[in-house]
């Protein structure tokens, strides 16, 4: 398949619908239109930027702006760290576990699934950072794609944080035209199912992706239907202990998301079922050999996962990029150097260690 086809097909489809609906004016400059579709940083994996947002930016006269260059370079650096240091390192464990479905202990299986969840996040978010940073160096603003997804308090909340541009597209061009939530419950449930099945099929034609989409639809439907009793239960259990309630919500959401990711990553739906069934086998023994890493690498992976969570927690309150930008020059440079050394020292490189971007195949 041509690289990035899923992304620019959605982009051009959305644009055509908007022009047809007269929601936006057609772009009259062919070069700007074409460039908004083929702009290289976002071509392979998005973000799916609306043509009407992107095309006008190519018409503006651009000058070399050192500040944008620097901010863009830092964003690229962060993206590369996410990809080469975190995602590809976690991939070693995830690959070890997913290539032996149902054969490892419950603990190894759980660790593998969690590692895949973070691998997928940092892999995709890493690319997005590189794309946004590269565009920024040219003075082009691309939309954000992630908003601390694993801190979501519900599956619905997750979809307001994960792959935002795709979620927005699905909502705008499929969910709303079907009637959205302003219909009867049964019809709404069907709408949700259709949206997520389309989302699943967008990721791939395999049954695993369709099941993954269906699971998310099911989560949403059950979530809405049980919203009342769950709120009552939470109030009864936790009262005014908001933090405890939040932690439980975030943790339970993460577990549900991970269960769905198992289908997303597994070679077949049968293997995914085997892995999930393995979690119930009761064998919670720990084995480094099963994970395919040594102790140091296992600890490193754990620390990286914790770092990702910590960075997301901090990002909820303030942008880390802005925080770096506001430091005095010596501190700023020190941070840049540390990031460079982390990338060089701990990155995974080479044809066998480095992994392709996961979403590039969609």
């Amino acid at each position: 398949m041509p690289v990035g086809i899923s992304f620019y097909l959605f982009q051009v489809t959305g644009y055509l619908i908007d022009v047809y609906r007269k929601k936006t004016e057609a772009v009259r400059h062919f070069g700007h239109y074409f460039l908004s579709l083929a702009f290289f940083p976002k071509l392979a994996q998005g973000p799916i930027a609306p043509v009407e947002q992107l095309a006008p930016q190519f018409g503006d006269r651009k000058r070399l702006d050192p500040l944008s260059m620097r901010k863009g370079a830092v964003r690229i650096l962060i993206g590369l760290i996410k990809k080469a240091v975190i995602a590809d390192r976690l991939a070693v464990i995830a690959d070890s576990v997913f290539t032996a479905p149902g054969q490892l202990s419950a603990l190894s299986t759980a660790i593998g699934i969690v590692c895949y969840a973070f691998q997928l996040y940092t892999d995709f978010a890493g690319y997005t950072d590189v794309a946004i940073g590269t565009a920024q160096m040219f003075g082009i603003v691309l939309p954000e794609n992630f908003k601390q997804p694993y801190l979501a308090r519900s599956v619905a909340d997750f979809w307001r944080r994960w792959h935002l541009t795709l979620s927005n597209w699905l909502r705008e061009y499929i969910y709303f035209p079907l009637g959205g939530s302003r219909v009867r419950t049964v019809r709404w449930a069907i709408n949700v199912l259709i949206v997520f099945l389309v989302s699943g099929m967008w990721h791939g034609s395999g049954l695993t992706f369709i099941i993954w989409g269906a699971i998310h639809a099911l989560y949403q439907i059950i979530g809405k239907l049980t919203a009342g009793p769950r709120t009552a239960l939470k109030t009864k259990l936790f009262g005014k202990k908001v933090i405890a309630c939040d932690i439980l919500s975030v943790a339970s959401t993460f577990v549900l998301i991970c269960a769905a990711w198992t289908f997303f990553r597994a070679d077949s739906s049968g293997n995914a079922v085997k892995m999930l069934a393995r979690l119930a086998c009761g064998d919670w023994s720990f084995s480094l050999a099963q994970l395919g890493v040594n102790a140091a690498e296992c600890w490193t992976s754990l620390i990286l996962v914790i770092l990702v969570i910590a960075a997301d927690l901090i990002s909820r309150r303030a942008s880390i990029l802005e925080w770096i930008e506001n430091r005095v020059l010596p501190i700023r440079w020190m941070i840049y150097l540390v990031m460079l050394f982390v990338l060089i020292l701990f990155g995974m490189y080479g044809s066998l260690s480095a992994q392709s971007f996961i979403y590039v195949s969609f």
Binding site: G292, V293, A296, W333, L352, S353
Partner: protein, 520 residues
């Protein structure tokens, strides 16, 4: 407009300053964390002041270090013989490596193994091509000099790989073996791969010779690719410049391998031009003399310790002729023996007998890979992968619990491989399964040879791939499995295993598990 321009200039100056600071930080970090732990032993030796000069240096890749035991040659000849080898390198890296090493030490003879000069596909196989060079470059004190060397051999796509190795190879966390992508595969599938390789290749010395001859007849100019040819010529220039001899030899392969055949004729054709170049032909002429058998191979291209011993002894005689010295190999003294047992879960248990009072195992190492670290007084370790161990690069480092005590290094060869299983110990009857994976209509036959009396018991073809054998008397038995496929009537045999049976104690031990076989 003017202020924008000055802002740009300011930014540019800052960028240049930042790059300078980056390199300064690189130098500082390099110095700060330099542990010296990652130095190739030969580099480390060459860097020591006042060391004995190196007489002979073997240079090459895994085919070299699995065919030559420099320690044994040193012991047998009294010469100082060293190896500068690293797995999966091509000629380009060998040349860069040698050039860097010669800045420190010029041996009298450099023995080049030719496989790297026929290799064209290692770039795709290795995840750290430049890292391979750099593994040796720990011995080079100036990191910027290393950068220069890196730039000399790196293609643009290798730069990140090399840069990362350049930094972290020198640092304490290099011990963590961060390049794990490929190693994990070895750990998980190593043993399986080993058997598969063994099964797929047949040792055929006549075919090897014939094909080498054919390669030379059809391709008299040689098939070395331009990169490897350039590297080879660079080494010849180095020989002129530094005044050393070059010997070329090809590590024996179990079957025809184009990587050897390609450069062979080219190198032979160059002999006349370069008087310092000596080609040692061990493929056609010397193969019977060396006496290699298929059981001397770890896989199609690498020798196991038995094969290594044979080729080393053969090479030692040539060295003794050249240096007019005695050659008295004491094979057993060169190694400590350890026991390797195959566990029921498919892992291998290595048991050592090396601990003195107050000593603890410090780091357990297989070839270039440090597998396990940390103090422990247990005298065994379980490992899944056997790939490298079988071929004789097997070290255990020991250090005293007292702070600052020197490490001592032990070399081991797993002479004895024992299957571990209750049924084998308690029963006089064994069942062997021939796991041939041909298509249908298979027939199986079995030969059992008593290795002491050379009596052979033949069991004709049957449809069952399971063979039951009851021992009548004690002794060592070789089990050979024949497989026959219809309708093509394709046949082949495999030496499956050697079993030693002790009638008095009723125990059996499997000395060599040679092929894809299960014993129950």
């Amino acid at each position: 407009m003017k202020s924008a321009a000055s802002a740009n200039v300011r930014a540019l100056v800052r960028l240049v300053v930042f790059i300078c600071v980056f390199f300064a930080a690189f130098m500082a970090v390099d110095r700060l964390f330099f542990s010296g732990s990652n130095i190739h032993p030969t580099w480390e030796y060459a860097a020591q002041p006042g060391h004995d000069p190196i007489d002979i240096l073997f240079v090459g890749n895994s085919h070299t270090y699995t065919s030559i035991d420099a320690e044994l040659l040193t012991q047998a000849t009294g010469l100082n013989v060293r190896e500068l080898t690293c797995a999966s390198v091509n000629g380009e890296i060998v040349a860069a490596d040698l050039a860097a090493f010669l800045e420190y030490e010029v041996p009298k003879v450099v023995v080049l193994e030719m496989c790297p000069f026929g290799a064209t596909n290692f770039e795709e196989m290795r995840n750290d091509k430049i890292g391979l060079v750099y593994e040796h470059f720990d011995g080079i004190p100036n990191p910027l000099w290393r950068l220069r060397t890196l730039a000399g051999v790196a293609s643009p796509k290798d730069i990140p790989v090399g840069l990362s190795q350049l930094f972290r190879g020198n640092m304490m966390w290099s011990r963590w073996t961060f390049d794990h992508g490929s190693r994990s595969t070895y750990d998980r599938y190593g043993a399986k791969r080993q058997y598969q390789v063994y099964y797929d290749y047949r040792f055929d010395s006549e075919a090897i010779s014939a094909q080498y001859g054919k390669a030379m007849l059809e391709d008299p100019e040689g098939g070395m690719d331009p990169t490897n040819l350039e590297a080879f010529e660079e080494i010849l220039e180095l020989a002129e410049k530094h005044d050393f001899e070059i010997w070329i030899y090809n590590a024996p392969t179990a079957t025809y391998d184009a990587r050897y055949a390609r450069p062979l004729s080219k190198i032979i054709s160059m002999q006349g031009e370069y008087p310092r170049l000596r080609f040692i032909d061990n493929s056609m002429v010397a193969l019977p003399e060396i006496g290699l058998e298929r059981t001397d191979y770890y896989d199609a291209g690498h020798l196991n310790p038995n094969g290594m011993e044979k080729i080393t002894v053969w090479m030692g005689k040539l060295i003794a002729d050249r240096f007019q010295c005695e050659f008295k190999p004491d094979v057993q003294a060169a190694y400590k023996e350890t026991t390797v047992r195959m566990l029921e879960d498919g892992n291998y248990r290595y048991t050592f007998d090396i601990f003195g009072e107050g000593e603890r195992r410090f780091v357990y190492s297989v070839g270039d890979k440090r597998v396990d670290t940390g103090f422990t007084d247990q005298d065994w370790i379980d490992e899944a992968a056997l790939t490298q161990r079988e071929i004789g690069r097997f070290w255990v480092y020991v250090r005293s619990t007292e702070a600052g005590a020197e490490e001592r290094q032990y070399r081991f060869v797993p002479f004895t491989i024992e299957h571990y299983g209750a049924s084998i110990k308690s029963s006089e009857t064994i069942e062997i399964k021939n796991e041939s994976n041909f298509s249908n209509e298979l027939l199986f036959a079995w030969y059992v040879t008593n290795k002491e009396t050379n009596e052979v018991e033949k069991y004709p073809y049957s449809n069952s791939n399971i063979f039951s054998y009851t021992f009548a008397e004690s002794g060592t038995y070789l089990f050979r499995a024949y497989t026959r496929q219809q309708p093509e009537d394709y046949r082949r045999f495999t030496d499956i295993l050697t079993v030693t049976y002790d009638a008095e104690t009723g125990t059996l031990s499997v000395d060599e598990a040679l092929d894809c076989v299960t014993v129950s």
